[in-house]
Homo-oligomer: 138 residues x 2
Amino acid sequence: MSAKDKFHEVVKLALEKDGWTITDDPLYITVGTVQMRIDLGAEKLLAAEKDGEKIAVEIKSFLKASAITDFHVALGQFLNYRTGLREKDPERKLYLAVDIITYNDFFILPFTQLQIQEYKLKLVIYDTDTEEIVRWIS
Amino acid sequence: MSAKDKFHEVVKLALEKDGWTITDDPLYITVGTVQMRIDLGAEKLLAAEKDGEKIAVEIKSFLKASAITDFHVALGQFLNYRTGLREKDPERKLYLAVDIITYNDFFILPFTQLQIQEYKLKLVIYDTDTEEIVRWIS
């Protein structure tokens, strides 16, 4: 299994442990002639609500030598997918899934924090060892 | 010469024909420990101004099978570089260089136009045949 696929499986498992049901793997959204492919769609049914909470999750493995190169792609994907979802599936919230090591190495840097604030990125941090969600950042 | 390098040379030549002096190839910006590499820096000296006009240009060749995949990268790079420049070289304006064929195929689509407006992307459109700048979009 490729490293990328391994991260994908870990995030699926971690979300399921957190009470989410994976509904789409991948989740496609199409705006006009532009088709986009988000890694996962998931839903959590809450007793108090008629409709469940819906999320889309883009999983980044940050395997490149330079984290900023991976972050260019992650930021672009996030903002394109968020606009796509706003047009086609506005109830669904988009999260970028990042492993805790990458988060602590790169996402806490002042530059990255500046971009997270400026572009209102939502993150879900996971641990590849315990295969659990560590933190949701909205 | 790779297709990517060819586009790079075409844009340099087209900018020079348009009166720009290439000052950086590439242009590096560093924010904290994050180093970014923008394809070109250029300057145009205008008689009426004491200081010249300064730009940074990121050249996208859109060689991938799926234009949206290239656009994810282009959008992420643009927004990261723009924040980097705002922090470190605020007088310099950032442009995304796109060839006219890619512009007419993909950038005029409603989704792409929506993102250009939302994220205030500046574009410089060039023609690979005439090796000239066709249009500046700010």
